[in-house]
């Protein structure tokens, strides 16, 4: 096991598998978010269920562990890759064929993490540990809807959110096909298909997430005008 973890291919497999796990999580998260479009009561009920269901709560540490592993192992790889070229090139023309996203996964991931900090501090942490106002029609349900829409009325928050979703989309677009390649489920024909699947998936996730802040921001502007 030590040799497996010591080898770059072992570490890559861990990054790929944890990445795929996080990619799956994204779509679940998105589905929950989209219930906001169904209105305050539905969203609050879903948020309450997510915050109290034991199975969901049990998944939280697993998710956190997956994220931490993904970050630590990929950072280590990025660092050792950097060291594999002690003298850098004076001129690099990447016109060849690699995508910009594929060459900047570390930076894109870092930006997503920065946003994640803001995101957790503005939503998940107050919902879990704080005591935000309760929903009108329930003695226990927190008014998640109000918490979120208040944030989505702030231009700077909405801008950061949208930018972060672009970074996330680019990261996932390369990440998905890259993970598939690392687990060996690709070949000459399939890699183009996987690339397309990755791009579509990333676009759905990025647009899906960004649609909420944009929608509610516009609504708040129209409402206050």
């Amino acid at each position: 096991m030590r040799a497996f973890l010591g080898a770059s291919v072992g570490k890559k497999l861990i990054v790929g598998l944890s990445g795929l796990f996080l990619i799956l999580f994204l779509v679940v998260h998105l589905a929950v978010n989209l219930t906001m479009f169904a209105g305050r009561d539905t969203y609050n009920a879903v948020a309450h269920w997510m915050g109290t269901n034991p199975a969901i709560l049990a998944m939280r540490p697993v998710l956190a562990a997956g994220l931490v592993v993904h970050i630590l192992v990929s950072s280590y790889l990025a660092w050792s890759n950097w060291r594999s070229r002690p003298e850098r090139y004076a001129m690099v023309d990447a016109a060849g064929g690699s995508t910009w996203a594929s060459r900047h996964m570390f930076v894109l991931g870092g930006l997503v993490i920065l946003f994640l900090g803001l995101h957790l501090s503005s939503f998940a942490i107050p919902m879990t540990f704080g005591s935000p106002p309760l929903a009108e029609n329930s003695p226990v349900m927190k008014d998640a809807y109000a918490l979120v829409t208040a944030r989505f009325g702030l231009w700077w928050y909405v801008s950061l959110y949208t930018a972060a979703m672009v970074f996330l989309g680019l990261h996932v677009a390369h990440g998905l096909q890259s993970a598939i390649q690392t687990v060996g489920l690709s070949n000459r024909r399939w890699r183009r298909r996987w690339a397309r699947v990755g791009n579509v998936y990333a676009a759905v996730v990025a647009v899906g997430f960004a649609s909420l802040p944009l929608y509610f921001f516009i609504q708040s502007q129209v409402g206050s005008a």
Partner: protein, 253 residues
């Protein structure tokens, strides 16, 4: 035509190198890139200066000796060409051409533009061989192999081992080279006896030599003078599984 060359000059592996600019006045468009460098060296020698050291042998794209990172790309501009196949028609009068050696911890500079690529041989020695005694060329139909399979194996076998995959890779990974070597053997019956340990042994060697880890950017494939597909890297990854990741590295030896 007039060409300005910014060339990396470095006396030995331990000396500090740097760029030196040389101007060549009457370069003809008919010259190959290496002939242009020969011409530069002739003028340098005539002036009593040290010629630029660079590697070359066959000059017809089959030996893998030539290297050179030209204007930010291994083997220079153009698809599926080696430096020796590159012509000066790709450049225009007044151009500045930046020439650097392959950059990798595993390829130390010997002098100027020449690097030591022994690391590639060491990877092959770790597993890129077969032990079956194949004797003389066998009767072609005695072991039936499908057309697709032999084509795929051949596509991998065209690797000339020049190292441009590593030179192109933003991570300095050698995975396309290893993939080509593993693939050609994994697809054919002669490669089976060692199949379970080959991929792991070669990748472990690559790590040890200081190559980076592939992150599937496909920069290697774009610059490979033989157009080797990264689909072979996916096969290499499957071969790692097949060998049980070196049986989890021989139960954590």
């Amino acid at each position: 035509m007039r060409i300005q060359l910014k060339i990396w000059r470095q006396e030995t592996a331990t000396h500090k190198g740097g760029f030196v600019t040389h101007v060549l006045d009457d370069v003809s468009r008919e010259m190959s890139f290496l002939e242009m460098l020969d011409y530069l060296n002739t003028t340098l020698i005539e002036r009593g200066e040290e010629p630029v050291v660079f590697e070359h042998d066959c000059r017809e794209g089959i030996c893998g000796c030539c290297s050179l990172y030209i204007n930010g790309r291994p083997h220079g501009p153009g698809k599926e060409t080696t430096t020796c196949e590159l012509r000066m028609t790709k450049f225009a009068d007044g151009d500045t051409i930046v020439i650097e050696p392959w950059r990798s911890k595993a390829f130390p500079v010997i002098r100027d533009l020449m690097v030591d690529r022994t690391a590639l041989d060491q990877i092959l020695q770790a597993g890129g061989f077969i032990s079956a005694n194949t004797g003389a060329a066998p009767e072609a139909n005695s072991i039936p192999i499908s057309k697709e399979r032999s084509d795929e194996a051949f596509d991998a076998a065209v690797c000339i081992g020049c190292g441009s995959c590593t030179a192109a890779c933003p991570n300095g990974s050698v995975m396309l080279f290893v993939a080509a070597k593993v693939s050609q053997l994994a697809l054919l019956p002669q490669g089976q006896p060692e199949a379970k340990r080959r991929a792991w042994a070669m990748m472990a060697k690559a790590d040890e030599l200081g190559f980076g880890a592939c992150s599937n950017t496909a920069a290697c494939e774009a610059e490979c003078p033989k157009g080797i597909d990264i689909g072979h890297i996916a096969r290499l990854n499957r071969e790692l599984f097949r060998g049980g990741f070196g049986s989890l590295a021989t139960a954590a030896s």
